[in-house]
Symmetry: C2
Subunit: 236 residues, 2 copies
C-alpha cells in the first residue's frame, strides 16, 4: 500500500545546494552532514584526524544525536572510518583507487542512467542542465574551482536523478563526495573552458535523444586522461 509514489523517485533536491547556508526548513542533521563533509573535502579536516562527537556537537550547536548520524553517513561515503568505542577518523582516497574503482563505477552508473534518462527527460530538465552550464561559465569567470566542480557534479546528478533508477541514484550519492574531493585535487590542472564545453556537448547529445550519440559523448567526457602522473598515495 504505502508504496513510494513515482513522484518520489525524483529524490529530494537537497544535494544541489552545497553551500553552507542550508535552508532553514531542512532537518538540522542534514546540515551537520553537509558541514562536516565540506570540512573534510575542503581539507579543513585532514586524513587521520579524529572526529570527536562532543567536539562536533559543540561546534555545530546540536546534540550528539545528529552528529552521530552525520558520522555514520560520512562513513558510508567513505570519508571517515569508525571503530566501535574508538571513534571516527578522516580517510583519504588514493588516486589509484579513484581512477581504478570510483571512476569506473561512476561510468557504469552514468552509462546506465543517461540512456534511461533519454526517454524521460523533459525540456524543463534540459533547462536545468543549461543552468548548471551557466553556473560553470560563471565559475570560470571568477576562477572559482569550488563552484565549477559543484555545477559539474550537479549536472550529472540531474541526469542520474532523471533516470528514476533508485539504486543507481543511491550509489551515486555514496561515491560522489570522493569524486568531488578528487576533482578539487586535479581539475585545477584542466582548463575551465574545456570542462564547460564538454558539458555543452553532453547536453546537446542528450537533446538528440539518440543513445549511441549520448553514450559516445559520455565515455569521451568521463574517460579523461589520467591526472599528472605525480602524486602518489595520500592515504590517511
Amino acid at each position: 500500500m504505502t508504496t513510494p509514489t513515482p513522484s518520489d523517485l525524483r529524490l529530494a533536491p537537497e544535494t544541489t545546494a552545497i553551500a553552507e547556508a542550508g535552508a532553514k526548513t531542512t532537518p538540522r542533521g542534514k546540515q551537520v552532514i553537509e558541514a562536516v563533509r565540506t570540512a573534510i573535502i575542503s581539507g579543513r579536516f585532514e586524513p587521520g584526524d579524529r572526529l570527536i562527537e562532543s567536539a562536533l556537537s559543540a561546534e555545530f550547536g546540536t546534540s550528539r544525536g545528529p552528529v552521530r548520524e552525520a558520522l555514520r553517513q560520512l562513513e558510508n561515503e567513505g570519508l571517515v572510518m569508525s571503530f566501535p568505542y574508538r571513534g571516527a577518523v578522516v580517510l583519504g582516497v588514493s588516486d589509484e583507487e579513484v581512477q581504478e574503482v570510483l571512476i569506473p563505477i561512476r561510468l557504469t552508473l552514468e552509462r546506465y542512467s543517461f540512456v534511461r534518462a533519454i526517454a524521460t527527460m523533459t525540456d524543463d530538465d534540459f533547462a536545468e542542465l543549461g543552468k548548471q552550464i551557466w553556473l560553470m561559465e560563471q565559475a570560470g569567470k571568477q576562477n572559482d574551482l569550488i563552484k565549477l566542480v559543484e555545477a559539474d557534479l550537479g549536472f550529472h546528478e540531474i541526469v542520474i536523478s532523471a533516470s528514476g533508477q533508485l539504486h543507481t541514484v543511491q550509489i551515486w550519492r555514496t561515491i560522489w563526495p570522493r569524486i568531488r574531493a578528487y576533482f578539487y585535487r586535479y581539475e585545477r590542472a584542466r582548463s575551465f573552458e574545456a570542462t564547460v564545453e564538454e558539458h555543452r556537448v553532453l547536453l546537446a547529445a542528450l537533446q538528440t535523444r539518440d543513445p549511441a550519440i549520448v553514450l559516445a559523448e559520455l565515455e569521451r567526457h568521463i574517460d579523461v586522461p589520467a591526472p599528472p602522473a605525480a602524486a602518489k598515495v595520500r592515504r590517511a
Copy 2:
C-alpha cells in the same frame, strides 16, 4: 597521528556471522542492523512495508537510537528509503538494475581487489577461503540456499578485504546486501555443486598468484548467464 593501523584494514569480521545469534560483545546497534537486514532480504518485510521506529525498537528491545542508526545504514545499502518526517519504507531491486548496475559494479570491485589481493594473501587467507568452500559443500548437502549464499559472499568478502583497499571494501559493503537478495531469488535455479566448483577453481587460480589467470576465472565466475528471462521488475 591516530592513523588507522594496517591491522585495522582487515575490517571487523562481523559481516561473516549472519545468524541471529550475535556475539554479546558487538554493540546492540549492529545487531539491529543485522536483524532488520535479514528480515528484509529474507522477505519477512516486503517492499512497500513501512518501518516504524517505535515498533522496531519494541521488537528488538532497544531504544529508538540504535533503530534510527540501523535504518540509516539500511538506507545506504539500498534496502530502505526514507523521507523526512514520513518514515522509511522497504525497497525492492529490479532485476534489470541488479544486472545492469550492481553486478557490473561488483565486477569492477572484484577485478581490482583480486589482483591486489594476490600480493598480500597468506596461506592463512587461503585456508579461510577453503573454509568457505567447505561451508558451501555443507550447504549443498543440506540443500540450504541461505548458507550457500552466505558462504559464497563470505568467500568474496575475504578476498576483497585482503586487498586492503579501503574504499573498495566500503563500496562492497553497501552493495552486497542487494546482491544477496538477488541471489536468493535466482541462485535457486543453479546447481549447488556448480557454485562450489566455481569457487574451487577461483581459489586455485588465486593460489597461482598469476593476475591473468585470476582475472580470467573471476570474469568467468561473475559473468554468469542472465537469469531465467522471466521475472520482470518487482519494484516496490
